[in-house]
Symmetry: C2
Subunit: 224 residues, 2 copies
DNA sequence: AAAAATTTTTAGGTTTGTCTAAATTTATTT
DNA sequence: AAATAAATTTAGACAAACCTAAAAATTTTT
């Protein structure tokens, strides 16, 4: 389809606003909200809406409202896929902290090679969840049903993959770095200590260690 | 400085044309050559030259000629650094073939985060040579002096890093893939067979194997 | 249902990077 | 030293993505 960076950003923003909208009322996104989200003016939004309509990515009738059609939705999911895969890469491979990656992924997501995303996905091990706990759409634009659970819910001796963390404060980051726990880490619970609910955990290539209930409560994992 | 993608592409092209130019004649780049390189028209080049002059990246006097000044040269080297690091990443981590990465790196090189390039460099192990055998400028814009040598010149039992390959035909690629040899591979020569000049080599995590003189001649390595 | 407030669109500009065609300047031939 | 050719620049336009200010449509209040 070959969309400009600007067109892609509009599509993505419409998608996110549609999701956030109260669907029960059947309401669609409004021009002002989109302008605000994209840090631009309502007049510019109207200009772009006309273009996106001629490109058959949205339904749009002036004054009436607008929303993504099937093609637009698939386009949005593909951009979001690229965004979240890059975020995953930046955290799990380059060692960025979670709070630094969104802004960089905003640029990387517009790099257009299909082959690149395919290979990146394979390289990362086909992750299903990004560093913020959001699902990564698959190649066909399907959002995975995520069985993300709290670390406490992981059965003993079963391997889970760390998928997100509830608290992203610098203090928490410091602790997790110390333990060597990051997004994508394979983690097992060896033992629960009933005294204080602390857990003995095991990470690959690391000796077992003990984490407090407070830390464990903030770690989410998924497993097959 | 915050340059647009277009400005960056001009700077980079001027740099490459200056290098290719015969410096003995003191000649500088000419407008038509730059237009051709950038797949645009001479008039567009003139427009951009004016802008690059006001941004103090080039010396330029109308009809007289133009060339990068110190600031422009440093800018070019920084873009080339990003380009080549991404190419290295695409080949060594994502498994792309050499002939596919340039076009993707042309997009990735414009992603502007300094921190990203710093971490990418570290992640890749501070490579000095890109998959095409071209030197990667360091953070300070210095081009490394490269001790790239033919594999035959590598002393027995010394580890070399595969830096480039003289023949990039699909046939060669097929062979190298079979042997598990790629850019960045750590390679050692165990033995030279005088009969046909074939080499027994050893790659990390792989059993020793033998390669023909013809293959070895096309492999270049560097070592401390 | 009229008035007021809000939302959305149009009208008319600006900036960036491009283009074609024409005018200048410089280089090369006669 | 002209004349001719080639390279370069200017003039004038265009598309994309913005903008401000004003007009039009819709929604909410009285
Ligand atoms: Mn994000
Ligand atoms: Mn995210
Ligand atoms: Mn290249
Ligand atoms: Mn290269």
């Amino acid at each position: 389809m070959n969309l400009s960076t600007s067109e892609e950003n509009y599509i993505k923003s419409i998608y996110h606003l549609q999701l956030a909208a109260d669907t029960s009322t059947g309401s669609v996104v409004n021009t002002n909200a989109l302008a605000k989200q994209l840090n631009t003016k309502a007049a510019s939004v109207t200009d772009m809406l006309k273009k996106l309509k001629t490109k058959k990515l949205i339904q749009y009738e002036r004054y009436y409202g607008f929303k993504l059609n099937e093609k637009g939705t698939q386009t949005a999911l593909s951009i979001i896929r690229r965004h979240r895969l890059w975020e995953y890469f930046l955290v799990s491979k380059l060692g960025f902290d979670w709070d630094k990656v969104h802004i960089i992924a905003e640029e990387l997501e517009h790099v257009s090679s299909m082959e690149l995303i395919k290979k990146l996905d394979t390289y990362l091990g086909n992750p299903k969840i990004d560093p913020h706990g959001d699902p990564i759409p698959d190649v066909n634009g399907r959002l995975p049903v995520i069985k993300q659970i709290n670390l406490f819910m992981l059965p003993l001796k079963k391997t889970g993959i760390v998928s997100s963390v509830g608290n992203q404060s610098p203090q928490m980051l410091e602790m997790l770095k110390h333990y060597g726990i990051g997004i994508g880490s394979q983690i097992k619970i060896n033992k629960v200590f009933d005294f204080d609910n602390s857990l003995e955990i095991k990470l690959v290539k690391q000796p077992a260690c003990i984490i407090s209930e407070q830390v464990a409560k903030n770690i989410f994992v998924y497993h097959d």
